[in-house]
């Protein structure tokens, strides 16, 4: 069994999502599911209920009157945002761990994940385009493959870094040359194993190689650029740092200029001050 096959085999052994997420993820993707079904299932989890109400009442989504019923909160947020909340709070405990192989201290990968998610929305706002609800979730999950490689498989990224710097190649290309797979593909395989929606899996898979994405490229392009903008900020930077290649095609397609990047970076830092607290609560807690 070569290194790639070993890695792929490990992905299937990784802990499943919490039971409530396993139930809710297919339900929230089923167009025939009723609000009553969704509300009933979600109400069984006090932590998720509290987080849903909190998100529905935060300034971005808030109505004039505070929302106190979880059903009303789901209606206000929409099923895609609730799905994002469930995925985010389920993945957070895994993403918060120290990723030794990639030199990421405890909490650093999660800080980067939150920054990419918010950066994706901020970039869309600066560009004046509409980011679909799954863009945030996809941004949050983009680098989850690093946890699999750096923690579950104890890959030492030093070899990858040396190869990248010695040959002047992007870090993800060095991963493919050393391991036979990169963290984006590993992350996408984990997301597919967890039965997350295909549009999210596609963004995770192609966020470093957006030109190769065969499906809709609009969200993968936003996440790709947001990931680079977050790397500039240094938030959650590991051994790979800024050693990636932005896609010229995506920058052209989205009309991203230096001014766009600077304005996004500025807005992102402001929004991060408020948003990290919102995303900090562990799954199952208020």
């Amino acid at each position: 069994m070569n290194r790639r096959d070993q890695i792929v085999a490990t992905i299937e052994t990784i802990t499943a999502l919490p039971p409530v997420a396993v139930q809710m993820i297919p339900l929230l993707q089923n167009p025939d599911a009723s609000l009553k079904d969704i509300t009933q299932r979600l109400s069984h989890d006090p932590g998720l209920t509290a987080n849903t109400l909190r998100l529905a009442n935060c300034s971005m989504h808030a109505a004039r009157q505070p929302i106190v019923q979880v059903g009303d909160a789901i209606k206000r947020l929409g099923t895609r945002r609730v799905l994002g909340l469930i995925i985010g709070s389920s993945v957070a405990p895994i993403a918060r761990t120290r990723v030794k192989g990639y030199d990421l201290a405890e909490g650093e990968l999660w800080r980067h994940a939150v920054a990419v998610a918010i950066g994706t929305e901020e970039l869309a706002a600066v560009l004046g385009v509409c980011a679909p609800p799954h863009a945030f979730t996809a941004g949050l999950l983009a680098d989850i493959g690093k946890v699999v490689l750096g923690t579950f498989l104890a890959v030492d990224a030093q070899r990858i870094t040396t190869r990248a710097f010695d040959n002047g190649i992007p870090f993800d290309q060095a991963e493919r040359e050393v391991l036979g797979i990169d963290h984006a593909e590993v992350g996408a395989m984990l997301m597919a194993h967890w039965k997350l929606p295909a549009d999210i899996v596609d963004v995770v898979r192609w966020h470093h190689l957006p030109d190769q994405c065969a499906s809709d490229r609009s969200v993968v392009g936003l996440v790709h650029v947001a990931d680079h903008i977050c790397a500039l900020s240094g938030i959650g930077a590991g051994v790979d740092g800024l050693n990636y290649q932005p896609s010229r095609q995506v920058l052209e397609d989205l009309k991203v200029s230096t001014d766009t990047i600077e304005r996004t970076l500025c807005g992102l830092m402001e929004r991060l001050e408020h948003a990290e607290a919102l995303l900090a609560a562990p799954a199952g807690s208020a």
Partner: protein, 172 residues
């Protein structure tokens, strides 16, 4: 002390003061260690007067304050042009002398960008040089560019400055 929220940790004999992104700190306490993490394309600038033992550190995100004048007014440390001027003024106000100032910089990294739109790091360093030139100051040391993030520290007892990159710490 100048700047926003900071983490202060007491380690053995030193008090570590963490300077966050878009923050600045000025110190006259020889028992302090000023440190800033996560320098990507941002620049971390230290200024130290070894005679007065006064120094400071600023972590600037973007090159020019005209990008967001309102934000620059509220927090000059966010931008290299306004942040470095604020740091110079801060150390002078705290008792440093202009002729004794040692200025060092780390950061200014960029991705492997072939189209130039992500060169914020290079622009941060260029703006820093212009600001120093206008203020008749020269860089005593620099560790800038490349693709790796850095951590910059300033020891307030003697002005020792270190840069940590990928687990390796060296004197600047």
């Amino acid at each position: 002390m100048v700047g926003g929220a900071e983490t202060i940790t007491h380690t053995e004999s030193l008090t570590r003061r963490v300077v966050g992104i878009s923050q600045m700190a000025v110190s006259t306490d020889p028992g302090e260690l000023l440190v800033t993490y996560s320098l990507g394309s941002c620049v971390g600038v230290t200024i130290y007067d070894p005679q007065a033992r006064v120094g400071g550190l600023v972590h600037c995100l973007l090159p020019l304050s005209r990008q967001e004048p309102e934000k620059a007014k509220k927090n000059p440390a966010m931008f290299t042009d306004s942040g470095v001027v604020a740091l110079i003024q801060g150390v002078l106000d705290a008792g440093a002398s202009r002729e004794n100032l040692h200025v060092k910089v780390a950061g200014g990294a960029s991705p492997l960008d072939t189209c130039g739109r992500f060169k914020i790091g290079e622009r941060n360093v260029t703006v820093l040089r212009k600001v120093l030139w206008k203020n008749d100051l020269m860089l005593a040391a620099e560790d800038v560019g490349g693709t790796q993030p850095r951590t910059l520290s300033l020891y307030m007892d003697r002005g020792r400055c270190t840069v940590r990159t990928a687990g390796q710490e060296v004197d600047l």
